[in-house]
């Protein structure tokens, strides 16, 4: 019995070189196999050598693929309406996806604008916002860049901070980074003019210097070279501008765009802390380093953790953050906190836009199906002439590819436009400065769009391709229009579309309602008629003593001014930012942070916050007298659940080594909202300004008229009191409250846009199906009319079809929504995810749209002329 060549090898050969050529090669090999009397190894080697045949250039662009594409383009060009509809649907779907992806990309993957960004590492500490103290940083820097076990070619420290920058009298809060002197060396970012920082700039007593961003240079100095050497005032200090950062460099704290950099040690608070040799834990910083050549990330991480432990042992401390150090290539937002907040929002947005794309795909599939009905005959003829089923299916796939490619290109353009719009309309975050989000389209976005297009093409051509490949030959050739199965399939598509878009619409309605609901949340204090002005009364103009005197005079003057009902002073501005302090109820206990504020007597009257027990602060609470505090309900019930808090002791201070301050609780204030309307109840503690001086305060005025109109008179009044007084933004409390809801407003607007888009796309789909059924049934309608049916009956017949499909879709959509809406629960401010109003409103809206989408084809059906319709026979 003759030996046979290995079957698996033959199979592989047939895969490698399909068709007749493969057969020929197999024949050759068989012949030789027999003549040489076997040799499986030889046979396998020969088969594998056929990869060369597979890869030969003219086989890669197989002539029939080219032919398919050519034919597809021709067909699509002959039907411009159909092509355009399909491409625009896809472009909308791909466009919104690439827009959202661009945003996600910026937040997570966009590398820093520095040379070799993949060697720049972000060092983070698990469970901690910062990494270490500045002193520890210096120790780290010394150890990890030492010539022996060199891990990093450079290690730098930074911290991003809001900086109030004075330019020609008006102060503005911008984002800046306070950095170690080697900042630019580590990042390898050259200055485009002037210089970056030098080690001398860190020495105590050196002249404070600053580097401006390209944008700040343009806006504030008109790109004039004379900016170098100019002085800008940051709070109390003058900084000399020594350099301009290159264009495109916005710092290392995305998504925030930096406008200014200063040496870390030139911040007054940092200098003060660093002057105290006993202080090891503050000021705290973030770290970034550039890996030394040849060092691998994981190895560096492990080594860094060892260094961390060594430093801890060398410099023991009481309050320890125990989290391990981690190392990651810097990309996107380096702050783990930002990533944590951004991740769920990104996932939500991407799934929402994914659904929009899915709906668009279903639309195109529907279009292709209706085309397939038209082309049944053509396909049947081609099959009868010998085209294989795969060949026919491939023809449909080729059309899909051409459509998807067109859609992707259009979609990218559409996405760029949407990015511009989005970048402009991103609400400014209060006290955080500009968000950078350049929203540039890069190769990652382009690849994403291409993958999305490819996936959609496969998705929407899958079923039509199957459909094309098995026409019932005889019936199609006869021109029979039977196709109930296909009709049913299209109905299912429409139902799915309606259901999906209804789900998005319900989500959007829910979030919009939650936003309205949030605006009605009781802040716990009076907002109407009140406005807050932020003023600076500190060194060098004021000492604490002269500042107190000035504030007393200021309050007297403002209270006596016409149109002012009352006025008060606090450190924080309600609903824009809050401070915190360390508290404990025994001197031994580890201190915990509680939100805090510093206020003057009368604050609770002006803000209409009721004191539930005890008393308010009074003029008798002075630096010399016993320290007093007022706590809120949450604080009182947390620490003294069933006791009277009045007279209890609170220990203040974060440093466990030094003795903490003892203060007596003299009053309990009702809970209020402190930082944003949507926050959970939090522990809060008030201290009197007289006992805890701060030089940066909010003057809160209760004006009898419209608070917004009082802004200018207030500014004039303050100017009269002290022409040099620095006054920052003046804002009504209502505006601050609505600003604090930026997150929900953002989600609501995006969801509303996407929900609307999904509905539009699904409506187009519905219209297509109803219109197609009208076209199919023209003859039947003609017969009915000829037999005496009323035109209204025909209208109703068509409408009923559209509305029936919609009703089915709505039913599915409602069930689906009931299941998935609980995922949104966290963003709804306590509103039920099954809010009946949202469900009803969204369903009714869809019904109305469905009515419109079916009415247009229904009217066309009503106008059918029976004579013309019957002449088709």
């Amino acid at each position: 019995m003759p030996k046979l060549p290995p079957g698996l090898a033959e199979l592989i050969l047939r895969r490698l070189v399909p068709g007749r050529e493969g057969e020929i090669i197999a024949g050759d090999l068989r012949e030789e196999f027999e003549s040489r009397g076997g040799g499986r190894f030889w046979y396998w080697r020969e088969v594998l050598s056929c990869v060369a045949v597979r890869l030969s250039p003219h086989r890669l662009t197989a002539p029939d693929l080219r032919q398919d594409l050519h034919y597809a383009v021709r067909v699509l060009r002959r039907n411009p309406g159909y092509t355009l509809t399909a491409m625009v649907c896809l472009a909308l779907g791909i466009g919104v996806n690439s827009t959202v992806f661009t945003m996600v990309d910026e937040l997570f993957w966009e590398p820093l604008a520095v040379p070799q960004p993949d060697r720049v590492m972000v060092i983070a500490r698990t469970g901690d916002e910062t990494v270490c103290s500045y002193r520890d940083y210096q120790e780290f820097e010394r150890r990890v860049t030492a010539p022996g076990g060199r891990l990093f070619s450079g290690l730098m420290a930074y911290d991003n901070i809001p900086i109030s920058l004075d330019v020609e009298g008006s102060s503005q809060i911008v984002m800046g980074e306070a950095v170690s002197a080697n900042f630019a060396d580590v990042l390898q970012v050259p200055a485009q003019a002037g210089r970056w920082f030098a080690p001398e700039d860190e020495q105590p007593g050196s002249d404070p210097v600053a580097v401006l961003s390209d944008g700040a240079w343009t806006r504030r100095f008109g790109r004039s070279m004379s900016a170098i050497g100019q002085r800008v005032r940051i709070e109390t200090q003058w900084f000399r501008v020594v350099g301009i950062a290159p264009p495109g460099f916005l710092g290392v704290s995305p998504p925030h765009a930096m406008e200014i950099w200063i040496p870390f040690t030139s911040q007054p608070y940092a200098r003060e802390l660093l002057a105290n040799p006993g202080e090891r834990e503050r000021p705290r910083v973030q770290l970034m380093g550039r890996l030394a050549a040849g060092t691998r990330v994981r190895a560096a991480e492990a080594a860094l953790q060892t260094v961390d432990e060594q430093i801890r042992r060398a410099f023991p401390r009481d309050t320890t953050s125990t989290g391990a150090l981690t190392l990651a290539v810097s990309a996107g937002a380096s702050n783990p906190g930002v990533r944590e907040v951004a991740a769920p929002i990104s996932i939500m947005l991407l799934s929402v836009t994914g659904i929009v794309l899915l709906i668009a795909c279903v639309n195109v599939a529907n279009l292709l199906l209706s085309r397939s009905a038209v082309r049944r005959r053509e396909m049947a003829v081609r099959q009868a002439l010998g085209a294989s089923r795969w060949r026919l299916a491939r023809q449909t796939l080729a059309e899909g590819m051409v459509l998807a490619a067109g859609g992707a290109v259009l979609g990218l353009f559409f996405g760029i436009g949407a990015n511009r719009l989005l970048a402009r309309s991103i609400p400014a975050l209060p006290h955080v400065g500009k968000v950078m989000l350049d929203l540039n389209v890069n190769w990652r976005v382009a690849i994403f769009a291409a993958v999305a297009a490819l996936a959609s093409a496969v998705l929407f051509t899958f079923s039509p391709a199957l459909e094309h490949s098995r026409p019932g030959l005889t019936s199609s050739l006869k021109g029979d229009q039977a196709g109930t199965r296909r009709m049913r399939q299209r109905d299912v598509y429409v139902i799915v579309q309606v259901a999906l878009s209804l789900t998005l619409l319900i989500a959007a309605t829910l979030v919009v309602r939650a936003m309205q609901h949030a605006q009605t949340i009781d802040p716990g204090f009076a907002m109407d008629h009140r406005l807050a002005a932020r003023i600076y009364i500190s060194e060098p103009e004021y000492t604490p003593e002269s500042g107190k005197l000035f504030l007393a005079r200021l309050l007297d003057t403002v209270r006596a001014a016409p149109g002012v009902r009352s006025a008060t002073i606090s450190y924080t501005t309600p609903l824009s930012f809050s401070d915190s302090t360390c508290t404990s109820t025994t001197p031994e206990e580890r201190p915990r942070r509680a939100s805090s504020d510093v206020v003057v007597p009368g604050y609770f009257d002006t803000m209409a916050i009721p004191i539930l027990r005890g008393r308010q602060f009074a003029p008798i609470d002075q630096p010399g007298s016993p320290q007093v505090v007022i706590v809120n309900q949450t604080f009182a019930t947390r620490f003294w659940p069933n006791e009277d808090p009045i007279g209890k002791t609170v220990w203040l201070g974060c440093d466990v080594k030094r003795p903490r301050d003892m203060a007596e609780v003299v009053g309990v204030a009702r809970d209020a909202k402190y930082e944003s309307l949507d926050e959970a109840p939090r522990r809060f503690i008030y201290r009197p300004l007289a006992q805890s001086w701060v030089g940066f305060v909010a003057l809160i005025v209760d004006a009898s008229g419209s608070p917004a109109e009082y802004t200018a008179p207030l500014r004039a009044l303050l100017h009269r009191l002290d022409p040099n007084l620095r006054v920052y933004e003046i804002q009504t409390l209502e505006l601050a409250a609505s600003d604090s809801l930026w997150k929900v407003r953002w989600q609501a607007s995006l969801l509303a846009v996407f929900g609307g888009l999904a509905m539009l796309l699904a409506a187009v789909g519905l219209y297509g199906v109803v219109a197609y059924s009208v076209a199919q049934r023209t003859r039947e309608i003609g017969v009915r009319l000829a037999m005496g049916a009323q035109r209204a009956d025909v209208l109703w017949m068509v409408l009923a079809r559209g509305l029936g499909l919609t009703a089915a879709g709505i039913a599915v959509g409602l069930a689906l929504s009931a299941g998935v809406m609980r995922l949104l629960a966290a963003a709804l401010y306590g509103m039920s995810p099954l809010d009946p109003v949202a469900f009803t409103v969204a369903s009714l809206a869809w019904m109305a749209v469905a009515m419109l989408a079916s009415y247009v084809p229904a009217r066309r059906a009503m106008r059918v002329d029976p004579v013309v319709a019957l002449r088709w026979e």
């Binding site: 007749r20 057969e23 020929i24 024949g27 050759d28 068989r30 080697r45 060369a52």
Partner: protein
């Protein structure tokens, strides 16, 4: 077409096709080259070259009837085309010109 350039292996394959005349199909072409040059030729290299030569228009091929000795598969016979003859002649002429007057020690 004088700019038609033939690689060395392409020349060998073309010459084998010419030598075999009517009997030029995969198996003998390979044997011919192996016997005369001592080089091992894989089937993949051979067919990718033949495909390329066909695409250039140097050879043409036809499919013969299936035979039992090949497991019921047919043979693909190759024939040189005028373009191939011209390209071969051109290649030889080029080599001859380069060799003219060259004497290796």
């Amino acid at each position: 077409m004088s700019d038609q350039y033939l690689g060395e292996f392409e020349q060998l394959v073309l010459l084998a096709v010419v030598r075999l005349a009517e009997g030029a199909y995969g198996v003998p072409i390979r044997r011919e080259i192996e016997r005369r040059t001592g080089r091992k030729v894989t089937v993949g290299a051979l067919y990718s070259t033949l495909d390329r030569l066909e695409a250039k228009g140097c050879v043409s091929s036809r499919f013969a009837d299936p035979t039992a000795e090949r497991g019921g598969r047919s043979r693909r016979y190759f024939r040189i085309e005028p373009l191939g003859t011209e390209a071969l002649a051109h290649a030889k002429e080029m080599l001859d010109r380069m060799w003219k007057g060259v004497r290796l020690a």
